[in-house]
């Protein structure tokens, strides 16, 4: 490698700094958009995957007038007798509107869902067991998003819930938790079930829904059909149904991202076309001078290759680095609302860092070599004609 050629190229870039900086800015912006879009998309897909995997195989909800209502707990015993069902238990939970921040918290009675939480959150179970033994009053363990909101509103140790009967329920905060999937747990408040019943005024014979655990995935559909005929007043929701509805929302939102991607690619190809469509008079003159003083075509192509590589690689890594910082450190302000919606009804969650190398390589291939070619080809066209013609 002739380092003098690299040195000459660097000097050449330096003297065209303003023009080249604008190219670097546009190139980086395009890569930034592409990488941001794909990173947010990958991250949210991962979130949904984790959320779906954590769901029970079937949830039974009692309906009244087309809306969900409380379900008698004794149905859980009936369901548990169905062959293929490993376990069926009732859950008591509901949404609590936190007026200060205009969001909904999901308040879950923990006792009835211990098994589900045991597998993933042993530290929560321990904390909960310890609190049950020592505190003879309402208490709660809150998701990190809830914890932050309460803390911001000066509720560091306790919060006064207002029950549906208008009573104040002073509830002690005994701990908080986070999970890989923030979407699933960020807005959750875990409380002893009796206090959740008090908060939402749900009597002991009723629950919010019934969870059905089925070890064999092949049997889910059959059991769903059985439950449908056993409880015609109920809605039977399988994990597949929820997964499909998540996917529908995701696909719908992807359309917006697709539009953004198209804009980014069009902008990139305009940049490339502008580069490839011809050299300025000054560039052609310079090629002529280099040829006249004894440079070979390959020498000219080498400096153009180095120039294209330096600009495109620098822009690619700048755009990629900025995008990853924007998505995973700054949490993609503005852009992520396109996917998740700008709803204030749920606390914000953190995007899981998911680096999709296949996508990064694809963006690299679609941008860097294309730009290098767009730099080299017009110079090659100018350098293969007679030097005196180039200078004329």
């Amino acid at each position: 490698m002739n380092f003098k050629l690299i040195d000459f190229t660097l000097k050449s870039l330096k003297r065209r700094l303003t023009k080249k900086l604008s190219v670097i800015f546009i190139f980086s912006l395009i890569v930034f958009l592409l990488v941001s879009v794909f990173s947010i998309s990958s991250s949210i897909k991962k979130e949904l995957e984790i959320s779906v995997n954590a769901l029970p195989e079937i949830i039974v909800q009692k309906m009244s007038g087309g809306r969900q209502t409380v379900i008698p707990v004794d149905r859980a015993y009936e369901i548990a007798t169905i062959p293929g069902v490993q376990n069926a238990y009732d859950r008591v939970w509901g949404y609590y509107y936190f007026v200060n921040d205009n969001v909904n918290f999901t308040v879950v009675g923990l006792d009835f869902d211990l098994e589900a939480y045991k597998q993933k959150y042993s530290d929560i179970i321990n904390l909960y067991a310890e609190a049950t033994d020592t505190i003879d009053a309402p208490f709660m363990i809150v998701g990190s998003g809830v914890y932050k909101m309460l803390e911001d509103n000066f509720y560091k140790n306790f919060y006064n819930f207002r029950t549906v009967t208008g009573e104040m329920l002073e509830t002690k905060i005994v701990g908080s938790f986070t999970d890989v999937s923030a979407m699933e747990t960020n807005d959750v408040i875990l409380m002893p079930v009796n206090y959740v019943r008090e908060l939402f005024d749900i009597s002991e014979n009723y629950a919010t829904d019934i969870v059905v655990r089925i070890p064999n995935p092949e049997e889910i559909e059959i059991i769903k059909q059985k439950l449908n005929s056993m409880f015609p007043d109920s809605r039977i929701v399988s994990r597949l149904d929820i997964e499909a509805s998540y996917q529908n929302i995701f696909d719908y939102k992807s359309g917006l991202f697709l539009a953004l991607l198209i804009v980014a690619f069009v902008a990139f190809f305009i940049l490339v076309y502008d580069n490839a469509s011809g050299l300025s008079i000054e560039d052609r003159r310079e090629i002529g001078i280099l040829k006249a003083v004894g440079w070979q075509v390959e020498n000219i192509l080498q400096i153009k290759f180095i120039e294209g590589s330096l600009i495109s690689l620098f822009s690619f890594f700048l755009g990629t680095g900025t995008a990853l910082f924007y998505v995973y450190i700054l949490q993609a302000p503005i852009l992520r609302n396109l996917f998740t919606g700008a709803s204030n009804l749920k606390p914000t969650f953190n995007l899981i860092p998911v680096i999709n190398f296949e996508i990064l390589i694809l963006i690299f291939i679609l941008t860097v070599p294309v730009y290098i070619l767009a730099t080299v080809i017009p110079s090659w066209k100018s350098s293969v004609i007679d030097a005196d013609e180039v200078m004329r």
Binding site: N2, F3, A292, V293, G294, D386, D388
Partner: protein
């Protein structure tokens, strides 16, 4: 050293339009000779220099440089020929404006295997000889016309060529700078260079160091 035999040059514009620029040009310049190509503007002097320097190919005829025919030499080899044997001095200097004087002068040697420090030493030596060393790091666009021409001469000499081709070198200079240039050309001849200079400046015609005057008119030798 330089020999042209029955050289024609025809430029084609489109399929049907052809312009004959040179017709049956034959002459020779021996080693260490100083030949002057003279004639009015548009007579074909610059085209002859382009062909001798391998910047352009003749339509017909033979061009021999240092006993080698270059008329049909591939581009790669004519570039090597220029790099090794020829120094060009252009009418408009053809410098790269936003590079410093030293960076312009060293350009011909960048693709070679000569080390950067040696290239700079060579360039500095020539700059000293041409009294422009104090302009070493100044951008050429900030130099006067005379200084720019010296930079162009230094660039033509940095590869230590046997042949110097100069195209209207005094066209952009006043009389004093033109006389300075003539002194430099004389020194180059004394240093053993073979010089082919194209100019219609009358200052050159009376020089005693000129061995041969070739008069061109409408693309033909008179």
């Amino acid at each position: 050293m330089i020999e042209l035999k029955s050289v024609d040059k025809i430029y084609s514009h489109g399929e049907h339009e052809e312009i004959g620029v040179l017709k049956n040009i034959s002459f020779s310049v021996k080693e260490n000779e100083f030949s002057l190509l003279t004639g009015p503007s548009g007579s074909g002097k610059s085209t002859i220099l382009s062909i001798v320097g391998g910047l352009s190919k003749p339509t017909n005829g033979e061009v021999i440089i240092d006993n080698k025919s270059i008329a049909k030499l591939p581009d790669k080899f004519s570039a090597l020929l220029r790099r090794e044997k020829i120094g060009f001095i252009f009418q408009k200097f053809n410098l790269i404006n936003n590079l410093s004087a030293i960076d312009n002068i060293t350009i011909p040697l960048i693709p070679t295997k000569i080390s950067k420090s040696e290239i700079e030493q060579r360039a500095e030596k020539i700059m000293t000889e041409l009294s422009i060393f104090n302009k070493r790091d100044v951008l050429v666009e900030k130099l006067s016309g005379g200084e720019q021409q010296r930079v162009a001469i230094a660039r033509a000499l940095v590869n230590e060529p046997k042949i110097i081709l100069a195209d209207e070198p005094t066209a952009n200079l006043d009389k004093k700078l033109s006389l300075d240039f003539i002194q430099i050309i004389k020194q180059l001849k004394d240093a053993g260079k073979t010089i082919l200079l194209a100019s219609h400046d009358p200052l050159f015609t009376d020089l005693d160091c000129i061995n041969n005057i070739i008069k061109i008119h409408l693309g033909e030798i008179q």
